[in-house]
Symmetry: D2
Subunit: 363 residues, 4 copies
Amino acid sequence: MSSVFGDRIKMTIFGESHGPAIGLVIDGLPAGVELDLNAIDREMARRAPGRNELSTARNEKDAYVIESGFFAGKTTGMPLCALIHNKDQHSKDYSILQNVMRPGHGDYAGRIKYAGFNDYRGGGSFSGRLTAPLVFMGAVAKQLLKVKGIIVGAHVASVGGVCDKNFNPLGERAEVLTGLAEKVFPVLEDTMGKTMIDTIMRAKQQKNSVGGTIECMAIGIPVGLGEPYFDSVESRLAHVLFSVPAVKAVEFGKGFALAAMLGSEANDPMYMVGSEVAAKTNNNGGVLGGITNGMPLVFKVGIKPTPSIALPQATVDFAKKSDTILEIKGRHDPCIVLRAVPVIEAVTAWTILDLLLAANRSL
Amino acid sequence: MSSVFGDRIKMTIFGESHGPAIGLVIDGLPAGVELDLNAIDREMARRAPGRNELSTARNEKDAYVIESGFFAGKTTGMPLCALIHNKDQHSKDYSILQNVMRPGHGDYAGRIKYAGFNDYRGGGSFSGRLTAPLVFMGAVAKQLLKVKGIIVGAHVASVGGVCDKNFNPLGERAEVLTGLAEKVFPVLEDTMGKTMIDTIMRAKQQKNSVGGTIECMAIGIPVGLGEPYFDSVESRLAHVLFSVPAVKAVEFGKGFALAAMLGSEANDPMYMVGSEVAAKTNNNGGVLGGITNGMPLVFKVGIKPTPSIALPQATVDFAKKSDTILEIKGRHDPCIVLRAVPVIEAVTAWTILDLLLAANRSL
Amino acid sequence: MSSVFGDRIKMTIFGESHGPAIGLVIDGLPAGVELDLNAIDREMARRAPGRNELSTARNEKDAYVIESGFFAGKTTGMPLCALIHNKDQHSKDYSILQNVMRPGHGDYAGRIKYAGFNDYRGGGSFSGRLTAPLVFMGAVAKQLLKVKGIIVGAHVASVGGVCDKNFNPLGERAEVLTGLAEKVFPVLEDTMGKTMIDTIMRAKQQKNSVGGTIECMAIGIPVGLGEPYFDSVESRLAHVLFSVPAVKAVEFGKGFALAAMLGSEANDPMYMVGSEVAAKTNNNGGVLGGITNGMPLVFKVGIKPTPSIALPQATVDFAKKSDTILEIKGRHDPCIVLRAVPVIEAVTAWTILDLLLAANRSL
Amino acid sequence: MSSVFGDRIKMTIFGESHGPAIGLVIDGLPAGVELDLNAIDREMARRAPGRNELSTARNEKDAYVIESGFFAGKTTGMPLCALIHNKDQHSKDYSILQNVMRPGHGDYAGRIKYAGFNDYRGGGSFSGRLTAPLVFMGAVAKQLLKVKGIIVGAHVASVGGVCDKNFNPLGERAEVLTGLAEKVFPVLEDTMGKTMIDTIMRAKQQKNSVGGTIECMAIGIPVGLGEPYFDSVESRLAHVLFSVPAVKAVEFGKGFALAAMLGSEANDPMYMVGSEVAAKTNNNGGVLGGITNGMPLVFKVGIKPTPSIALPQATVDFAKKSDTILEIKGRHDPCIVLRAVPVIEAVTAWTILDLLLAANRSL
């Protein structure tokens, strides 16, 4: 575990924010899959920093080099390693962080755990930069899922309390889901998006940051992915979703709202459509008994405000063993939610692909 | 994966609600651990059905037989298998369920996945009965954690929208956490508990059911458990929490509320207490960067209403390939939240124990 | 790991020789597989003790109870647990072994590892009794493999230096392989078997024991099972073969003899048979580059003499911290090779089934 | 599995012989380990090609770049990725191999398994080049083991039937084991080494190749590593040993010779040395019941002749669907045994380190 996860598609990620490179190794891809590198580039660009005033000024193209597992335009069936070299590090910005712990970050927990030997520059392996390999994996997974008619999409569901409307739990059209990826600010109601952007810019001007939520949907999923207990779709998805930095909450379907409902309201009634079974509502988010039931998979994640803020914060100095006040310099996202959207989609696509491969138990 | 999970403490669970037995195998327990069987009995009794009018009338003592790994009152270091024989099955209650799918249950997803061969009686392996092995594991884990000064406790945080007060995120006294296990209805404010019970009884009388939330806390946890990315404490805990039937939402610390906060509000400021580091708030629930930071671990799970209700529900009949109306007979919990409390504690204790063993990397 | 192994078919074994029961949990069986319980009984009987003067007098039928995963004569797709209750224990025979370490056994290593808490009676979990669950698994696997035209068989290749002839590496007829299972002493040349039996009986009369080798073959295996590196067929097979007590050597194809050959002798020349590819020799035992090449899988294991002998042996007494002489009482096999034959077949069948399921990577 | 293996120290390897790079990711190294890069270089040089007339003329320094997990001269506790760029590829030498299958290689099995999409140049991922990452891992492991007083060493035990003397199974001095690494041709008796070299050169002149055996020993190993059944020391070691290309046989202690012995000869008698337990012989190679018993770990592997030979060989042409004769061009080792010595040591060191970390079960 730790930096390796997955069952049929095992992924290993590595790297530190200011080290030479970050990257991933994907094990278990079928051989002969033609990869659309442009499509991967597009996904990488969605997450990359420095695109506009809403994100950090760190300017990284996140260009990757495929080192193995790819030959003559197709996967070889062998592990695919891709490397993303770190380019625009300003490591000196971080020298103070060797001893002064940033509140809301893993600095203190990591310093104790790794006895001070972890790379503190830019958060080291705790950095959100490590989500770039996840997006690469997701971009590959999406290409495989597309062939099976499975589409994954997500939108910013809220920022600082300003809410977009929700997906229709009975399913959105494929164009709606894929169209979100082309928006600078992916929301269903652009007027709400404008208000969210204002909220983010206000936080930025106040040297502060703001959190939000992301809603994700996958359509075209067959009945029968996942297993009861430890391979439930919710278990597997939540595992990787909570590996994404800043994610602090996950709910499927109506989620926490189900806790205040009656059984007669919460249960999704079923009916026949020709010889097919469908449900009239999708309060359970497409998963029952841990297994997909053919309804769209839909869930929401809660993302905390970027912990790095320029306002003065009370914290501790390990070298001096004393309290101190920290004003974080450097370049930071005033709201990480926007850049997290492709990451949430990516880990979702990876998980669905993995469950899909695992569900095939024919000899 | 599937029915096996864990890293240092691997657990395999098995069994079907109306089969001969359910059980578990625990792999990785240190040798020489004296087990307090009475303490295990007490935990099993907390989850067992038939204790009062708030739970199903199925009367199971959930008595277990230890088949291996336990000799002369202590663990042998070998896999410990415990079996719980099913006793009070009324299998005939379920014959209709071979073809008529219960809304809100895994019946339909399971029927398609397992091509109709899964044991439909009482939900088979989807049954909440499979949480009895989890409680056994948790009872063992709690005994090991206690020696290290780690205490896990949980309370019913809400039922049908009626809320208990929350734990103090800076920590509750050990007696508060352990005392909850002795209450018939474990809440912090008993007056609210009374209202919750009324809510449950009302749902029961109306042949309906109701959901709720559980808040869980662990104190005494050392700094440094878990890892960034795929072994984050949140990832590992969420994985097993979402394996518990009816759990549809999980949030750590302030969870979804963090999404509406500013960074300056959400970050937990740190200060020195002598030579120790502490935080003034615990909005992150004791986990930063995926790693425990020494603050109490605190999280909430959302549990949907019991899907089995006696009210008529629209669904499908697979044999007739037609719509139908189902009124579920049999014995069911009008609210599963109460019995889920020891289960949530159990999987939490298991996960902490596992992370604790994994964190020891000395040669 | 430890007591859990496998990829698509994960098996957990448990139990101690003189505890209440031994058993296994099989995770990953497809749903709807009709199990021929008589065929399982026959395999269990091949390994069971007490059948004749060549094996220990411990009289165990090794009757199993299926506790889960089996409903209406078919697998349910859920974990299948089978229990074998220990019956004919003579635990008092073993009381001396709490402190006096048997040479050639895991007693001393286990005592140190488990700090004296392991169940020393009859060797506890180190006992060959734990191979009964392996045979159960193998019997199930064989039924699944048979449908795919894959047959596994093994014979006693030597006892105490007396050798049977080898399998034809280009393949034996299915009847030869299955016919061996019906022989009391499974050899290809019965006259050599007679000499082997004499060798065993002589060792028995001399309160001694004797080792041997087993050759195993599987025919009908498709090209393409296994992977280069850590999932090579040889790696996966050797892993489980060396888990069988008393196995100390494994070689594939010509094995150690290849080390003395020239490349021109060792390489297996290929040719076309119609549109199919075949090889003129099978020195590599059906595996090249870690992957099956369509030739019969053939390998040999070396099994040491039963370490339990009635002759006086020099050893140590832990209680007295002194040297001592031990004469092992109780009932022991003068040669474990005979009873190991179905075990070797079993772990081979399990491994092939697992690799077969893993090789299917279609979405 | 597949390209990921290990329990506490998980290693992922990747790369193809003629792709941009090969490499590895090591997960689970403790933080703060100072790495002696010169020592790693020395190990890499032992395996690197082109050093003398006994090995292939492919001239690769096997220089590595550490991309992550290493900061300020020490491990960070995060995954360590090292990349080895391929330099001296002569890919055109291999164009014929797209369709003509080399006997003794994985070409045919791989072509079928990967449907022709695997990188055939130089054997792709089947290439012995993939053992370079293993040697890197071993070099790191050796540094950690050294601190615990554990030394691993190996020698060429035979080439083409010409045998070196064996290690003293009761243990060699550390200087003997480490001294072997400094020899150009690591044998215990240099006169035999001279004869082996002659044998290799003769095979080379005859456009042929020759196999051999390697004996490996580890001293200073504590009692108690490994587990009965699936984590037996033999199981874990054999798994990785058989992942090394060309290894076709593995035996522990006296190995196959035990099969011809009596129990009274094979058992290792024990005695007290002060308050310590020792054994008078070490026929079991330091492992009993799957667990280390404090005696030196000693085992032998059988390595087949390099399958690439320049002599004409009968094989098939896939494009023409016909028989053909192949004379392999390019640069090949006439005997791979010499370069395999550091690889065998490496996977042994890695496995011991992993078992050592796993054996620590204290909370």
